[in-house]
Amino acid sequence: MTKFLSIGQAAKQKTPIRRNAKILKTKSKSKFFNFVMMTIIGVMFFGYLVQVNSLATKGYQIKALQGKVTDLKQQQDDLQLQALSLQSMGAVQDKVNSLKMVDAGKSDYLVEKPVAVAR
């Protein structure tokens, strides 16, 4: 009886150690898991912040580029309008006068006459 008791006692002693070891192992695993999760969350949060901030700053860059596009478009419009003014009939007439060009006068026309060939 004592023998069994002592074995029983020994077993009891042994069991808490194994259980504790298991518990310890589980605890450390979950600690690691938590750490990994927190790291992932941290990285994603940081990434989100970077992305949103980048988008917001891109908005300002877009606005600046749009301003440049508007300026260039305006320059192009101005040049086109200048070209139109130079091509206007009034401007051409002034050039004609300044170059002292004269009217062509009477034109002679070469008219194709039908040719008939007799056999």
Partner: protein, 579 residues
């Protein structure tokens, strides 16, 4: 002894617990107060703060479309006769202006301010509680850059778009102008008025959020309804012909100091190549026009008694109904008496036996009365209306009028007789051009048109093709009549309208202008209408001078104008001579 110390220790811990509890209670109360306040702000007063936030952050902006341009088609592509140009509005924020006097002194030479303007601007810029004062519209880019270089505090610029006309003095009345009503651009008169809806496009809408600096937040929610730019118009107007027609007309308008002048050049199938009037106006500076009647286009909206140019209609009707032939004769006694009135030839002469060719050559009123009497009033009225008189042509320009031939509906011979030589009826220059074009077009009346294409935003084109209205006279009649009209130009009073080497058809008219008290005044309208070359007509010309001074007859005033322009067109189209 140990009992006392334990008791003390217990008392101390009880007191300490109570303090913690009290402190905790205070924190709880404070937290509760904050939560209640938050609840009140975020839940109970949410609508109020939501509206306040949207007023500050929300951007609701109208997106204004570009107004469509008006082009003419040329070999190299489309040339804009009317387009848009950006100018600037200079404004001041008086509350930010440090030294109004200095600012006004700096702006005055650039903006060309008068003494009165200078004083008025100084007064406006001195109002320190004023957030905004517009200074001047339509500032050029060059002036804007000069002002920006001065670095004046409180001065800013806004872009404004105005209409721009690269060609000056070639048809303000065709284009009309664009005015601003309640910040909305509205086309008035001419093409701008007629096609206002097509040219305007549709306003868009932008709904977004802005940050504290007023910039749009890219990551914020946004709703855009884009603006739809206006459609573009392509005209049948030939820029070169228009320029020359206007130049030639101006010369004669100035030379004879006419009250007004009009000229139309069109193709026999209806396309308007040129249309010009004087007095004219500059659509870019329409506000400077003193007399608003200048905005109307007399070529389509001024009616007048045409006189002898109308004899072509009478002759056409007579030939087409075969009541006369070119060689039919009658006896010209120089006058016809009817209903107590005496109608005479223009020179009051009697010529004896005359053919119809001679009646037209000599422009005999008695000859036209002879034809009208043979036709009968009803037939004559039918031909007059079939030629398009008394009704609008339907050209796509604002404010066209129909003229008046209602005298032909009245009983009494006098009305038909006077109408046969172009008095007692009123017509527009375009109706005359259209009628002569029908003769040039083998007797087919076509609808005159000035817009050949409407180009929509998506690139779709709505084209206008020549539209036949009706066969007014037979091709044979048209051919015979063309020959008779060529005889008028070659051999008779209208010789000055001829061009050597070419057969051109034409007829002048010198018509009295009705007086204000009934009857006729001593003033006259001088008109010429014609086309050529008659073998294959390429153009129709109608020119009119109202009350030219120092010259009696159209045969001397408008005929050289017709000849000059016809010569130009024959060269322009490289048409070889007929003989």
């Amino acid at each position: 002894m140990p009992n006392i110390s334990v008791k003390k220790a217990n008392n101390n811990s009880v007191v300490s617990d109570k303090r913690i509890l009290i402190f905790f209670g205070i924190i709880v109360l404070f937290a509760a107060a904050v939560m209640i306040r938050l609840f009140a702000l975020q839940i109970l007063e949410h609508p109020f703060y939501s509206v306040m936030a949207s007023e500050r952050q929300e951007v609701l902006k109208s997106l204004f479309p570009d107004r469509g341009s008006i082009y003419t088609a040329e070999k190299g592509g489309l040339y804009p006769l009317v387009t848009n140009r950006d100018y600037y509005l200079i404004y001041a924020v008086p509350s930010a202006v440090d030294n109004p006097g200095k600012v006004v002194d700096a702006l005055a030479p650039i903006l060309e301010l008068s003494e009165a303007d200078w004083q008025e601007l100084l007064t406006r810029l001195s109002k320190k509680d004023d957030p905004y004062e517009p200074i001047k519209h339509k500032i050029t880019k060059a002036d804007k850059e000069k002002i920006e270089a001065l670095n004046l505090a409180g001065i800013g610029f806004t872009t404004e778009t105005y209409r721009f006309y690269p060609e000056k003095q070639i048809g303000g009345q065709i284009f009309g102008f664009v005015s601003t009503n309640d910040d909305k651009k509205v086309g008035q008169y001419g093409l701008e008025g007629y096609f206002n809806t097509e040219l305007s496009g549709k306003t868009g809408l932008l709904k977004s959020f802005k940050d504290a600096l007023g910039s749009l937040i890219t990551v914020g929610s946004r709703s855009i309804q884009p603006a739809q730019n206006g459609s573009n118009l392509v005209l049948t107007i030939d820029r070169t012909i228009q320029f020359n027609a206007c130049k030639d007309l101006k010369k004669y308008y100035d030379r004879f100091k006419a009250d007004s002048a009009s000229i139309i050049v069109m193709e026999p199938t209806g396309a308007i190549l040129a249309m010009c009037n004087f007095p004219d106006f500059d659509p870019e500076n329409y506000r400077e026009v003193q007399d608003i009647s200048y905005f109307n286009n007399p070529a389509i909206s001024a009616t007048y008694e045409p006189g002898s140019v109308f004899k072509m209609i009478t002759m056409a009707a007579g030939l087409d109904t075969a009541v006369i032939t070119p060689n039919t004769t009658y006896i010209d006694t120089g006058e016809v008496k009817v209903a107590g009135y005496t109608i005479r030839n223009f020179d009051k002469k009697a010529r004896g036996e005359q053919t119809m060719i001679q009646a037209l050559d000599e422009s005999l009123n008695t000859g036209m009365i002879f034809i009208e009497q043979k036709l009968g009033l009803e037939n004559f009225r039918t031909y007059v209306k079939n030629f398009g008189f008394g009704q609008k042509t339907g050209i796509t320009l604002a404010n066209e009028v129909s003229g008046n031939v209602s005298s032909l509906d009245k009983a009494g011979d006098i009305y038909g007789m006077t109408a046969s030589f172009g008095q007692g009826v009123s017509v527009t220059p375009l109706q005359l051009a259209s009628a002569y074009a029908a003769v040039a077009n083998k007797g087919v009346l076509t609808k005159p048109y000035i817009v050949s294409e409407v180009i929509q935003l998506n690139g779709d084109k709505i084209e206008t093709k020549p539209t036949p209205v009706r066969q007014v006279i037979s091709p044979r009649t048209a051919s015979t009549l063309s020959g008779m009209l060529a005889s008028v130009v070659q051999t008779s009073y209208d010789k000055k309208a001829s061009v050597k080497g070419y057969y051109l058809a034409g007829k002048t008219g010198t018509a009295q202008i009705p007086g204000s008290n009934g009857g006729y005044s001593s003033k006259t309208n001088h008109t010429i209408a014609g086309f050529g070359p008659i073998a294959n007509p390429r153009f129709v010309i109608v020119a009119r001078l109202e009350n030219p001074k120092g010259i009696g007859y159209a045969a001397d005033s408008v005929t050289p104008l017709f000849s000059q322009l016809a010569q130009y067109l024959l060269n322009y189209y490289q048409i070889p001579p007929d003989y």
